[in-house]
């Protein structure tokens, strides 16, 4: 059974992002995002009968249970969804499958995180996302913490094999910043970025500069999925789910720079009945500039190894090609894992992108990944079922 056009996104809720201390935990941001998405859709809390929850690094435990309790929801579908950064695409697919098979009717998919802590009274500044510096087994004995180093190894290897340059990675950071400068929700909305500033920014884990790495954000995003039929009667224009797919490559990605993308793409594009040339806007997971570069290659926007020159020439749509990461992405808007590309894809498909809106937005791609791009989920959405 194909899911194509059977379900649609009816609601989107996005809280304030960044150093936002409106809530003390991810659960508070999740509840606020759900409330915003219900309002956006014109639905009531009692209309929800499915809840899929992903929390970032800041919350340990079963967030879906805690959230269901605090919202006093009665549901037919309830789970924590954890496929790392890839979770948003996974959750949307689960929601669409549940609705298409009659398991649930109105499903809220929510991501929230609160890794940033407010400054102590009279004390020094709050934390800067140390929660992401998690140790990783034996590797941590060698000083390997968090995820930065893993992507730095990919970037270094790409540079070694293909001659990719720091300027080319910088072009991705700058192009995304230019998009963010047109997105009032972006953490870097009011801050432009030049190539000089990019090069001058401190090394995090060489060859990744500060501006090669994503933001750290407190906030929440909720996406409400329902049947195509029901979505047509709701407040906002439906954004149809046309195709979903996952691809999980055993890795290590570093060996051959192969990713899960081709597998995920094949499934989702086949379901949607599209080819890459049909995609009019693409929102690619961008925890690092190298992630975008490898995704451009993975989807076939350019050949393997040519991501650097391609990114520098097209500048993610500012200089050619289709618009890519139009909200500023995780690098320059907000870091809500896969909900960053998913939320901006919905905004573009609806035509609500304001200054950054793509004139063509009938077929929009949202690409979610994690684990060095070995784990992947894709959602193709569009304005027509």
């Amino acid at each position: 059974m194909s899911l194509k056009g059977k379900t649609a996104i009816a609601g989107l809720g996005i809280t304030r992002m960044g150093k936002n201390y409106d809530h003390s935990s991810a659960l508070g941001f999740a509840a606020e995002a759900i409330s915003l998405a219900l309002e956006d859709a014109g639905l009531k809390r009692s209309d929800l009968d499915g809840l899929l929850v992903t929390t970032g690094v800041s919350y340990q435990g079963l967030a879906s249970f805690a959230l269901q309790d605090s919202l006093r929801l009665t549901t037919r579908l309830l789970a924590d969804v954890n496929a790392g950064g890839s979770s948003a695409g996974t959750a949307l697919a689960m929601a669409a499958e549940a609705i298409a098979t009659g398991t649930a009717n109105v499903v809220a998919c929510v991501f929230a995180d609160a890794p940033l802590k407010p400054p102590a009274p009279g004390g020094k500044g709050g934390s800067a996302g140390d929660a992401y510096g998690v140790p990783r087994g034996l590797d941590s004995a060698y000083g390997a913490f968090g995820a930065n180093w893993v992507y730095a190894l990919l970037a270094q290897r790409h540079m070694y094999l293909y001659g990719t340059t720091q300027d080319q990675l910088g072009a991705i950071a700058i192009a995304e910043r230019q998009w963010a400068n047109r997105n009032p929700m972006a953490q870097f909305y009011k801050e432009p970025l030049t190539l000089e500033e990019y090069h001058a920014s401190r090394w995090i884990t060489e060859p990744l500069h500060l501006y090669d790495c994503c933001l750290v954000s407190n906030g929440g995003v909720c996406v409400i999925v329902t049947s195509a039929e029901r979505a047509r009667d709701l407040r906002k224009p439906p954004v149809y789910i046309l195709g979903v797919g996952q691809g999980h490559h055993p890795g290590p990605t570093l060996d051959n720079l192969d990713t899960g993308i081709p597998i995920a793409k094949e499934t989702a594009f086949r379901m949607a009945g599209i080819e890459l040339k049909d995609v009019q806007v693409a929102e690619l997971y961008d925890c690092y500039t190298i992630t975008v570069l490898l995704s451009l290659e993975g989807y076939g926007f350019c050949k393997k190894g040519e991501g650097g020159p391609y990114a520098a020439a097209t500048r993610l749509g500012h200089g050619g090609g289709i618009p890519i990461n139009t909200g500023g992405g995780e690098l320059s808007s907000y870091y809500m894992w896969g909900m960053t590309p998913v939320s901006e894809a919905i905004i573009q498909a609806r035509g609500e992108g304001g200054e950054r809106q793509s004139p063509k937005h009938d077929v929009v791609l949202a690409s979610c990944q994690t684990r060095n791009l070995s784990t992947h989920s894709v959602v193709v959405m569009g304005t027509n079922p």
């Binding site: 004995a141 730095a152 090394w203 884990t205 060489e206 990744l208």
Partner: protein, 135 residues
């Protein structure tokens, strides 16, 4: 002088043979008893023939830098930035994540030849790291 802070990894059952060998200044990896394919980190099945039977064997400790990164921030007091984290491709074809030491991080290159050295952290744990190959 302040006491040196160390980050001593946990000796899990899976990694015990690795640490036992390192204590005797040998670099060991897992070897499939069925087809002879080497692997690291340890895994329950051979990736070539699916056999669950394996042993540990010493390897040369020589290899090249497959990729590396210079860490400019230390997340733990045992480390002093900048330091080099690398994936080493051993001459036997197996890759291992480690450090490249004994050379300025800015001079490390992909493809450079390295050899293992052993860093004793405690009675139980000696950690293999890599340095530029002699000669």
């Amino acid at each position: 002088m302040a006491e040196e802070v160390k980050l001593i990894p946990q000796v899990t059952p899976e990694l015990k043979p690795f640490f036992d060998a390192a204590r005797h200044h040998q670099l060991a990896v897992q070897k499939c008893d069925n087809c002879g394919k080497l692997r690291f980190p340890p895994a329950p099945l051979c990736l070539a023939c699916d056999s669950p039977r394996s042993s540990w064997v010493a390897v040369s400790g020589r290899g090249t830098v497959f990729s590396f990164t210079v860490m400019h921030r230390a997340y733990h007091p045992a480390f002093k930035a900048p330091y080099t984290l690398a994936v080493i491709e051993l001459d036997e074809g197996v890759k291992i994540t480690s450090n490249v030491v004994g050379i300025e991080p800015s001079r490390v290159k992909c493809g450079m030849a390295v050899e293992v050295m052993f860093d004793r952290l405690s009675d139980e744990v000696t950690l293999p790291r890599f340095r530029p190959a002699a000669g």
